[in-house]
């Protein structure tokens, strides 16, 4: 009976049972009839018929066992036999199990990341209907959504079920304990209803509380509640000071709540209490982020066109000044999910592909080893098939054996995946959304089971195909040493070439990332990031501290810091490099044709003290630096960077030129004179080109949100301690945040690229090692098979050197062919990673040449041991073995 019909029989058990039961009943009836004919009473006859039968259920049971037990027994028998065969060749088994464990472990770990970052739906109800709505201003080439836009979307759009807005706002939290500077947001009451957020304790705020002038309330995060209130369940109704203003805590969010913008992670959510603004550009507005929930069945395209209509009608209805301000603006709509995972999708998919390639190499490797074993075992197989084992039976034996092998390996892989997942969690990669939720769950377990099965079948197939082509008589006659048929050798060579080709693709990918990264590191950031300590102090808008006292406070801290022996200079800025710009201004150059109204270019503005350039070691190219005579009462001055000079004064000197900052109303502002030109700083990160920037003296401006210290010092630790001490002494309620070194900031800004490079590099290295093992295996085997031939050659006068060359030539041939095929593959695939590369072509010839050379060198090196072994062949022994 075939395997198929036996399996089918187990599934069709019920029908068989019915059949059997009917058969037994007909038997019983015939017996009873004969009994009656023999003179029994009908009752007696039935009883006797039944009694003779005994337990009919047990008959059914033992009849059925003919189907299932037999099948299960053979499977178990195959598995036992497989284990026995594997334990007989421990070397092979260890290599194979390790390969499976490493490759499946790595694949599962990457899948665990993808599963929680890309595949898991957002933790909100019906996340597919959540969209981000923004208004794009071509003049600033960025998205600037103002609170009146949000109101227009929410009230006039017909496709929105609900919409909410929020805006980041940091708070100085004081009162009990050390003052803290915490991330928070102001949000509309509808923010909670749009996302369907339910708090763990208390409630979220109502529409009435989200009005100007309402009582101040706050909803706090789960972690803030644990940290600040020791998880006190009676927290609702208590009061905390935010920027010195008392707020009543009305609710605590659940620990499972995730803020839709993973960069923000606010601890405090405060009602936005948006001012009602009828489109007056002079009235206060709020720059907001808007999240909408589309009505059921609305497509993204439909939403986009509806919101665009709403927005244009709204702009047309506004007065001309407001309309001019947002001239040319349009609506950008995208799914919240796209917004969240967009930037990490490509790198993750590339890494998943890479790890898939490593898995493929591992499987090819084991298939190749199994093939060699299948040849060695051809005698065993021949004997077994001569003894009556069917082809299918032998095939099943082999596949079971391979499944046992991949099963053992995948246990190790599971351990590796669990460890790797916890490492990724611990690394807290800020670039990955939901990083804290990465774990090996049932999906990952299922995935492991699936690839274990697939891998086992995959590397079981090659030897199985071989077995099918074995003639038992030939196999037994020739014994173990035989049948290095060219067909079989060609198959193994193909497997190894495929391995090498795939390894080269990975090496090329990793090589491109390394090259791109080294180019990035070679970029001069425009400032010296060594030995610079940074710290931010923030002044809340509502703080009682007036401008004069803010300046006095800054001066005091600066002077006391400067007095420290290890401190070289103390600079301050409103906007630290490697972070987004804090402020910008629009400039109108004197003597140049004025751009149309409202279209004057926006330029980032950095407000600094005179020592800033010295502390950061930013080069002065022309003119002077700021000094203490640039004050509120002196003529307004500015320093620009070279990018500014290039853009606004191409071909002429910027020094001494003047510009105006247009104001929406009032008298025309005074002209600002450019007194210096400084070198470009890559403010938005090394990979971003420097944009035109204006520096102005802080003394001629106001201190807004806060100030960041940049302190050049030889003693990081002691200086940061001294800074905290000085500030605490001057004002115990003034928090300090973001105390770190410029070096750390730089390395954090590169961390996403570093992670990509390191993970792809690790996988490429693993691939290289695996394919070296592959080429080693193939050549060792081929040397063992050809020892007779080699013996003959040596007996005929060939020297050892020539034998070594013979084997190395084969290694070189395999590696070069693999490298060539791999280069073709790499040229086809690397262009998908262009977006990850900095100033590096996806076809970078130097990288391709280097990785090919590396692969060929490693391939030849892997052939060295078998070549050496071949040269040790004793011609006498080899020939006598005949």
């Amino acid at each position: 009976m075939s395997l198929f019909s036996r399996v089918a029989a187990t599934f069709r058990r019920n029908k068989k049972d019915d059949d059997l039961e009917e058969e037994l009943r007909s038997h019983r009836e015939m017996r009873a009839r004969d009994n009656v004919n023999a003179g029994m009473s009908e009752q007696e006859a039935d009883l006797d018929a039944l009694r003779r039968f005994g337990n009919s259920a047990s008959i059914q049971e033992s009849t059925r066992s003919a189907h299932i037990v037999l099948w299960l027994e053979t499977v178990l028998q195959d598995a036992r036999f497989g284990l026995r065969m594997l334990s007989r060749t421990p070397g092979f088994t260890i290599v194979a199990v390790l390969t499976v464990a490493l490759t499946i472990g790595a694949t599962a770990a990457v899948f665990a990341v993808i599963n929680s970052v890309l595949l898991r739906p957002l933790p909100y109800e019906n996340p597919e209907r959540l969209i981000v709505i923004a208004t794009f201003m071509p003049r600033e080439s960025s998205e600037v959504t103002a609170s009146p836009h949000y109101v227009a979307f929410k009230t006039n759009s017909r496709i929105l079920e609900d919409a909410g807005a929020y805006s980041p706002e940091d708070y100085n939290v004081s009162g009990a304990g050390e003052p803290e500077r915490l991330h928070g947001v102001v949000a509309t009451a509808s923010f909670f209803s749009t996302l369907a957020v339910h708090p763990a304790l208390g409630r979220v705020f109502t529409v009435e509380e989200d009005m100007p002038g309402a009582e101040k309330v706050v909803v706090i995060s789960h972690s803030f509640w644990q940290r600040h209130f020791n998880s006190d369940t009676g927290v609702v109704g208590k009061t905390i000071l935010l920027d010195s203003v008392p707020h009543v805590v009305i609710g605590v969010l659940r620990s499972s709540f995730r803020f839709p913008d993973s960069d923000l992670q606010p601890e405090l959510i405060v009602p936005a209490a948006m001012p009602t603004n009828n489109g007056d550009a002079n009235q206060p507005m709020l720059i907001v982020s808007v999240i909408g929930r589309m009505k059921r069945g609305v497509s993204l395209e439909h939403a986009q066109s509806d919101l665009e209509n709403v927005f244009q009608q709204y702009l047309a209805s506004m007065n001309s000044k407001f309309g001019a301000f947002f001239e040319g603006a349009s609506v950008h709509t995208r799914l919240l999910e796209t917004e969240l995972v967009g930037p990490v999708r490509r790198p993750l998919l590339i890494i998943m592909t890479a790890v898939g390639f490593v898995l493929l190499i591992g499987c090819l490797n084991i298939a190749s080893l199994q093939l060699a074993r299948a040849v060695q075992r051809s005698q065993e197989v021949g004997v077994r098939s001569a003894l009556g084992a069917g082809k299918l039976r032998l095939l099943r034996q082999l596949i079971t054996e391979n499944l046992v092998l991949s099963g053992c390996g995948s246990f190790g892989g599971l351990l590796i995946a669990v460890v790797a997942a916890s490492l990724v969690r611990a690394a807290k990669l800020s670039a990955l959304p939901h990083v804290a939720e990465i774990r090996v769950d049932f999906w990952v377990l299922g995935f492991i089971a699936l690839i274990t099965l697939a891998a086992g079948l995959f590397f079981g197939v090659a030897p199985a195909l071989w077995v099918n082509g074995t003639d038992p008589a030939e196999a037994i006659a020739k014994g173990n040493r035989s049948t290095a048929s060219t067909k079989h050798r060609r198959l193994r060579n193909l497997l190894v070439i495929a391995e090498l080709a795939v390894a080269l693709i990975l090496l090329a990918g990793a090589g491109l990332l390394v090259r791109s990264f080294s180019r990035l590191l070679a970029v001069d950031p425009g400032f010296d990031f060594h030995n610079v300590l940074t710290a931010r102090i923030s002044f809340p808008l509502s703080s009682l501290r007036q401008q004069e006292s803010r300046f006095a406070f800054l001066d005091q801290v600066t002077q006391e810091l400067r007095a420290l022996p290890s401190v070289e200079s103390v600079g301050t800025t409103n906007s630290l490099p490697l972070l987004p710009y804090e402020n910008s201004l629009s400039v109108v150059i004197e003597g140049k044709p004025a751009p149309p109204k409202g279209m004057s270019p926006f330029v980032p503005l950095l407000q600094i003290n005179p020592d800033y350039f010295h502390a950061m070691k930013i080069a002065t190219m022309a003119g002077r630096s700021f000094n203490n005579s640039d004050t509120r009462t002196s003529a307004p001055v500015a320093i620009v960077n070279q990018a500014f000079a290039r853009r606004f004064f191409p071909g002429e000197a910027a020094l001494g030129k003047r510009f105006r900052v247009p104001a929406p109303s009032g008298p025309p502002p005074a002209l600002t004179t450019i007194v210096g030109v400084v070198g470009d700083v890559h403010h938005l990160g090394l990979a971003q080109n420097a944009s035109p920037e204006v520096y102005s003296p802080l003394a001629q401006s106001r201190i807004y949100d806060g100030v960041t210290f940049v302190i050049r010092t030889s003693q990081m630790e002691s200086t940061s301690a001294a800074l905290r001490r000085i500030i605490a002494k001057l004002d115990s309620n003034q928090p300090v945040s973001d105390v770190t070194s410029m070096e750390q900031k730089l390395s954090a800004s590169l961390s996403a690229r570093k992670v990509n490079m390191v993970s792809l590099g690790a996988f490429a290295l693993l691939a290289l090692v695996l394919s070296a093992v592959g080429i080693f295996g193939v050549l060792s085997y081929s040397v063992a098979q050809r020892s007779h031939e080699i013996g003959v050659r040596m007996a005929l006068g060939s020297d050892r050197e020539r034998v070594v060359k013979l084997v190395l030539r084969e290694a070189a041939w395999l590696s070069v062919t693999g490298a060539l095929c791999g280069t073709a593959g790499a040229l086809a695939l690397t262009r998908f990673m262009s977006s990850l590369l900095y100033h590096t072509s996806a076809f970078d010839p130097l990288t391709m040449i280097c990785v090919s050379a590396l692969l060929i060198a490693v391939g030849i090196l892997a052939g060295y041991v078998p070549a050496h072994r071949a040269s040790r062949v004793d011609p006498m022994i080899a020939l006598r073995a005949e």
Binding site: M1, D19, E23, S26, E29, G54, H67
Partner: protein, 109 residues
């Protein structure tokens, strides 16, 4: 599988031989036939007959079909397949060897 492989083999032989003699028969008929021909020396237990029939059927030596019995009841009839015929020849030979062997052993003792 069974407690007594020898006995099982014997039952297989009896079933195959019966079907070779009567052509096509249901389980009850097979049991009766064996009992009758052996003059009540061999009694086939229903509890071992049906597992044996199914096992033999799976080996492909007999096939079955549902038909009306002599009294117009439905019953499952078994008949030999060509492989079954060959198997019967083999089993008969091996049985004869066993009888010979056991016989000579008994004689010798």
């Amino acid at each position: 599988m069974g407690k007594n492989d020898q006995l099982q083999g014997t039952l297989d032989l009896l079933v195959l031989k019966t079907l070779a003699q009567v052509g096509s028969m249901h389980g009850y008929g097979i049991a009766l036939h064996i009992q009758r021909v052996s003059e009540d020396l061999l009694r086939v237990e229903e509890g071992s007959l049906y597992p044996a029939l199914h096992r033999i059927e799976e080996s492909g030596w007999i096939s079955s079909e549902w038909r009306a019995s002599e009294n117009n009841r439905r019953a499952k009839y078994y008949q030999l397949t060509p492989q079954g015929r060959k198997q019967l020849v083999r089993q008969e030979k091996s049985w004869q060897r066993i009888v010979q062997g056991v016989g000579s052993l008994l004689k010798f003792a």
